[in-house]
């Protein structure tokens, strides 16, 4: 039995359908990401799970109990808000103790739990501070400690890292994973940052216009996107649009159709596309065997250990190749190159 079971849930706001027939389940101890661009319904879905919104259709089960109609204060989930929503009139300890007080935990046990939570997020020295006396990173820790204090079975996190600066975000990402492993609570977090989702989640649901576009592990989503949208949204990609022709793709970018066995079932002429990740695109001075597209190096973008080489085809298309900076040194702006890839690295997209 999954810990969280969402069954064909829909939610409309007026004429806008925010969540459209979403079904998914989250198991115990999972670190699950809802990933998508703004307006895709991911936050609404999170709020439906927390109980701040009621679905127009579908059921939500937590630990086997139907909580679809239950108010937030009766659900065994807690949420970490994007704005943190710390109570400004209570100090750090008071914020963390708030939920424990609501369930009537006895004073001494409450103090012990608060101390435990403060230690968990390394904020033991700040128990008496008020929220306005804390930095952004410290507030984030307090918000996490407060949400975990009641030891919920499921923790919801709304853009947990969005308010932090980049360096802190990367540190905190690792800390969050560590804390999740230690407490064993399932985390469901919402993010618009694909790097964050890929780097943290055991499974990801990519959302598009209220629906789940693809659900799978980070590697599945990245390596085997099932649609143009997912391929384009998650990570950088070279996309070649064309039409299915037998078990090949006919595209203006290619001189001859590229064989793609996945397209065998599609009728001739159906719109399809081919996706190649930049790190799978190979540039060479000599024409490679198999797939070969002529291009000219347009720019070399140095990013430290790796570099991104942009190459323009005669038709004006920009190809993106990622490689070690040592390898990129071989390519100069304006130099003619050949682009190609291993057929196994190309993904056929029929949607």
């Amino acid at each position: 039995m999954p810990l969280l079971d969402i069954r064909t849930v829909s939610k409309n706001f007026g004429a806008v359908t925010a969540v459209d027939g979403v079904s998914l389940s989250v198991g115990e101890g999972e670190l699950f990401a809802l990933l998508g661009p703004s307006g895709c319904g991911k936050t609404t879905l999170l709020r439906l799970i927390a109980g701040f919104e009621r679905p127009d259709a579908g059921r939500i089960l937590i630990d086997g109990n139907d909580v679809t109609e239950a108010p937030p204060y009766r659900r065994p989930v807690n949420m970490m808000f994007q704005s943190y929503a710390l109570f400004p009139h209570l100090d750090v300890a008071g914020n963390i103790a708030f939920g424990l007080k609501q369930e009537g935990m006895e004073r001494r046990r409450r103090a012990a739990r608060v101390a435990e939570m403060l230690a968990l997020v390394q904020m033991a020295d700040y128990a008496r501070r008020r929220p306005h006396e804390l930095s952004g990173g410290q507030k984030q820790r307090v918000a996490l400690a407060r949400a975990l204090a009641k030891m919920p079975k499921l923790l919801l996190l709304d853009e947990p890292l969005a308010a932090l600066d980049r360096k802190l975000r990367e540190e905190t990402r690792l800390e969050l994973i560590g804390i999740q492993e230690r407490v064993g609570t399932s985390f469901v977090f919402v993010t618009h940052d694909q790097e964050e989702a890929l780097g943290m989640a055991s499974r990801i649901a990519v959302m598009e216009r209220g629906r789940v576009a693809q659900l799978g592990s980070a590697a599945e989503i990245y390596e085997r996107p099932n649609s143009r949208f997912v391929a384009d949204f998650v990570g950088a990609v070279n996309l070649f649009d064309g039409v299915a022709a037998g078990s090949a793709l006919k595209a203006p970018a290619f001189d001859t159709p590229i064989p793609l066995p996945e397209l065998a079932d599609l009728p001739e002429g159906t719109a399809a596309a081919l996706a190649v990740r930049p790190e799978k695109l190979r540039l060479s001075r000599a024409r490679p065997d198999g797939i070969a597209i002529a291009a000219t190096v347009a720019s070399v973008n140095y990013q430290g250990g790796i570099s991104i080489v942009h190459a323009a085809t005669p038709s004006g298309r920009m190809l993106k190749a990622q490689m070690a900076s040592t390898a990129a040194a071989a390519f100069e702006r304006g130099a003619p190159v050949w682009a190609g890839w291993d057929p196994a690295d190309a993904v056929a997209l029929s949607r």
Binding site: F52, P72, Y73, F81, A85, Q102, A147, K150
Partner: protein, 292 residues
């Protein structure tokens, strides 16, 4: 040219408000304080001079007789004023809080129209609105007539010229001054704080008690001051709606000044009122400091 500190520009900037306060507040207050130390006389102006030229040069003629008289005869009026104002403040809070809360939680498009209704009574003079209450409350007034027609009462109820009508009038007149600052602090309340509290297991009543109420205390303090302070010195409402049992300081002041032409006594009454009002002001300031 100095980089920091106060140059003539800075003084020019703050001079007008200070000058204003000095000329129209501090100076008159000093004059009133001075008059309160003199005696009434059949002269123009109707009080004895505070300083006289005697054989030993300038001599002060200050006396606290007015204050002694006040302590003997006007204590009840002060008590009434404090009592009615406190009761009216408490009732305004009780009635105004739910209204302010409802407006602050109403859909955004409704808030301004609703606030407009709160302010609407100000479009008519207070005097006229208080007169209107007389026609409602008097023994042959609308309310008694309606109750009689409904067969609920045989004899008219005594609704006017007593403490009830004075407090009703005060609550009616000052309710907007309670609602507006309360609305101000309640509308700034971050919705996610309420959601966070509910998420952590707080039922609506506890969300209110532990989050909404504490965070709206600055609004409560501001509203209470805006009602309590003018209500204490209120003259029109007790004069029109009150009776012999509801003498308030404002009325005493009027009587001393206009009926008895005893300026020094009236000045003393006013000075004591000023001193009494600084206490709640200081308290409110303390509250506001603690809240931030």
């Amino acid at each position: 040219m100095p980089v920091t500190g106060w140059g003539w520009r800075q003084w020019c900037l703050i001079a007008p408000p200070f000058l204003w306060l000095f000329i129209f507040f501090l100076l008159p207050l000093g004059v009133v304080a001075a008059i309160s130390l003199t005696q009434a006389a059949d002269t123009i102006p109707p009080y004895t001079p505070l300083f006289t030229h005697g054989p030993d040069g300038l001599q002060a003629q200050a006396s606290f007789a007015n204050y002694r008289l006040l302590a003997r005869s006007d204590v009840r009026a002060y008590g009434n004023s404090l009592g009615f104002a406190a009761l009216a403040t408490a009732l305004c809070l009780l009635v105004g809080y739910p209204i302010a809360f409802a407006i602050a939680r109403a859909p955004k498009a409704w808030r301004n129209p609703l606030l407009f209704f709160v302010i609407l009574p100000f479009w008519t003079s207070l005097l006229i609105r208080v007169y209107a209450w007389i026609t409602i409350l008097q023994p042959t007034g609308l309310l008694n007539r309606a109750l009689e027609d409904l067969g609920l009462i045989n004899q008219p109820l005594l609704l006017i010229y007593n403490g009830f009508s004075v407090v009703l009038g005060l609550v009616y007149a000052y309710l907007p001054f309670m609602i507006l600052p309360l609305y101000g602090s309640l509308s700034q309340l971050d919705e996610s704080l309420l959601e966070a509290a509910a998420d952590l297991g707080a039922r609506p009543a506890r969300v209110f008690r532990e989050i909404v109420l504490p965070l709206s205390l600055p609004g409560v303090a501001a509203g209470a001051l805006l009602v309590f302070i003018p209500a204490i010195g209120e003259f029109v409402i007790p004069d029109l709606l009150g009776g012999p049992g509801t003498l308030m300081v404002g009325k005493v002041l009027w009587q001393e000044f206009f009926d008895n032409v005893d300026w020094p006594e009236a000045a003393a009454v006013a000075m004591v009122l000023v001193v009494l009002l600084t206490a709640p002001l200081l308290l409110a300031q303390r509250l506001a400091e603690r809240a931030t």
